[in-house]
């Protein structure tokens, strides 16, 4: 018999339905990843026991770990499904939706909280003038090197899912947003909003909620130095708090 792989996928037809597990057995192919496995299931949606079922719903796009849409729990850990090579996973491969985001269907979840958080800290460079401002200030290579890793964030939300502090009772903002504050505060034009971003991070659910468990930096698929960004921003927020108090 040909070599096979087994996937156990948690299914849920809608946000209010009861979840259920389905097992699939597929013929092994070299270089298979969790998304390609689910594409095969979609082509032939039959469970291991021969029951016909529906294709699995999930988000994905780039298939090369740059769009950030395919985050899910694979064998219990948050990671990108498109770069999760089946050969490197323990069988049967357990696939579940991210647990801390509202479920849409099957493995698709609503991660708009990150987008909302990024808006609340003004994670952008304010250049909305009506006329040409000319070229911006020069960014030196040393600064570029510091900024670049943080600019690689793909908004996958893995860092938030794995964080023990990111949950409904803390309302913690999560590591990704803090790293983006660090990034935009460093930008020569983005700096204009530095104090607003730092003040935003002092709010409830802000940077203080981080318990420094360091899961975020472990799971981040883009190897963003998140703990460094949190520590650095922690200092800046503290400085801002003192400034606000003593200088008004």
């Amino acid at each position: 018999m040909a070599k096979t792989v087994v996937l156990k996928i948690k299914r849920q037809v809608n946000p209010d339905a009861e979840p259920r597990w389905e097992e699939f057995e597929l013929t092994w192919k070299s270089g298979m990843n969790v998304i390609s496995a689910m594409m095969e299931i979609a082509a032939n949606p039959v469970t291991r026991s021969g029951q016909p079922t529906t294709p699995v719903a999930y988000d994905s796009n780039c298939l090369e770990e740059v769009c950030g849409s395919c985050a899910m729990l694979i064998n219990g850990k948050a990671r990108m499904a498109c770069s999760a090579l089946v050969d490197k996973l323990e069988q049967p491969v357990r696939v579940e939706p991210l647990s801390k985001f509202p479920l849409v269907r099957d493995l698709a979840v609503d991660r708009s909280v990150l987008f909302e958080n990024l808006k609340r800290v003004k994670a952008w460079v304010p250049v909305d003038g009506t006329y040409d401002l000319g070229s911006g200030p020069r960014v030196y290579p040393t600064e570029q090197e510091e900024a670049y890793p943080m600019s690689r964030c793909i908004s996958c939300c893995c860092c938030m899912e794995a964080c023990p502090q990111f949950n409904e009772s803390t309302g913690f903002v999560g590591a990704a947003t803090i790293a983006q504050v660090r990034l935009f505060n460093q930008h020569p034009t983005g700096k204009a909003l530095k104090h607003e971003r730092l003040q935003a991070l002092m709010g409830d659910g802000g940077i203080q909620e981080c318990g420094f468990a360091q899961n975020c930096v472990e799971v981040c698929p883009k190897d963003i130095p998140l703990t460094k960004a949190i520590s650095d921003t922690g200092r800046e927020v503290m400085k801002q708090a003192f400034k606000d108090f003593f200088r008004g």
């Binding site: 985001f101 460094k228 520590s231």
Partner: protein, 245 residues
């Protein structure tokens, strides 16, 4: 997802930008663990280590501490209130977190959980220790100072109490040392991964040192050097079981 006004009704709520007071209380919690609670812990370890110089040295140290000016004020505002705040707010932090070491069994995450457990153990231990040493039995104020060695020694005759001392000292040492590490990381003192690594080693050394000092102190009470020290110490010159000269 990208509508002009996103309203998030389910799941983790977004950041309450600039709203609320939790930043102040949480940072105060972090700071209170270092001063005054951590500072008191160090003082307490050092003071008790005087027991390793025998009952007389121990009595003198107790005398010195109990004769400090404004002792009740120091106790209430330097120890009890900060300690209670640190402990109770700590439990509040614990219950709102969502430990997940089973899924993510990594060092930092393990320490995150351990910080909560050691804190709880230390708190229960400190509660019991304060009750038996400060609020019951012979009062150690004034001339009571000389009874201090005896009081601790008698308590440690009970093997359960002795075990609790060892567990409590270990938990408190661990909690304090890792608390230093967390403080430096969160307040942006050890920003780079390298500095955090080296400071982590330093904190481990601090934990080991504190535990060693604690055990040496316990040994002074339970070891063979000063057995059955009486409540009323004899005059300084006389020998105590032939060991003090």
């Amino acid at each position: 997802m990208a509508t002009a006004t996103t309203t998030i009704k389910r799941g983790v709520p977004p950041l309450q930008a600039g709203q609320g007071r939790s930043f102040f209380w949480r940072r105060l919690h972090s700071l209170s663990g270092i001063v005054p609670v951590g500072a008191f812990l160090l003082e307490h370890f050092v003071s008790n280590a005087f027991a390793t110089n025998g009952p007389f040295a121990y009595r003198d140290q107790v005398k010195f501490l109990t004769s400090l000016p404004f002792v009740p004020v120091l106790e209430i505002f330097g120890i009890y209130l900060p300690l209670l705040y640190h402990a109770l707010y700590g439990f509040y932090i614990w219950f709102r977190g969502q430990t997940n070491v089973n899924d993510y069994p990594w060092a930092g995450n393990f320490m995150y959980s351990a910080q909560r457990w050691t804190g709880a153990v230390a708190f229960i231990y400190i509660g019991w220790h304060t009750y038996t040493m400060r609020f019951t039995g012979t009062h150690l104020m004034g001339s009571g100072a000389q009874a201090a060695f005896n009081k601790v020694q008698v308590e440690m005759h009970n093997p359960w109490a002795l075990a609790f001392y060892i567990v409590g000292i270990t938990a408190a040492s661990w909690h304090f040392a890792y608390g230093l590490y967390l403080f430096a990381a969160k307040w942006g003192i050890t920003v780079s991964a390298k500095s955090r690594k080296y400071f982590g080693m330093a904190c481990t050394a601090i934990a080991v040192t504190l535990i060693a000092v604690g055990l040496a102190t316990i040994w002074a009470f339970v070891g063979p050097k000063w057995p059955n020290t009486p409540e009323k110490l004899p005059a300084e010159q006389t020998t105590l079981d032939g060991n003090r000269h």
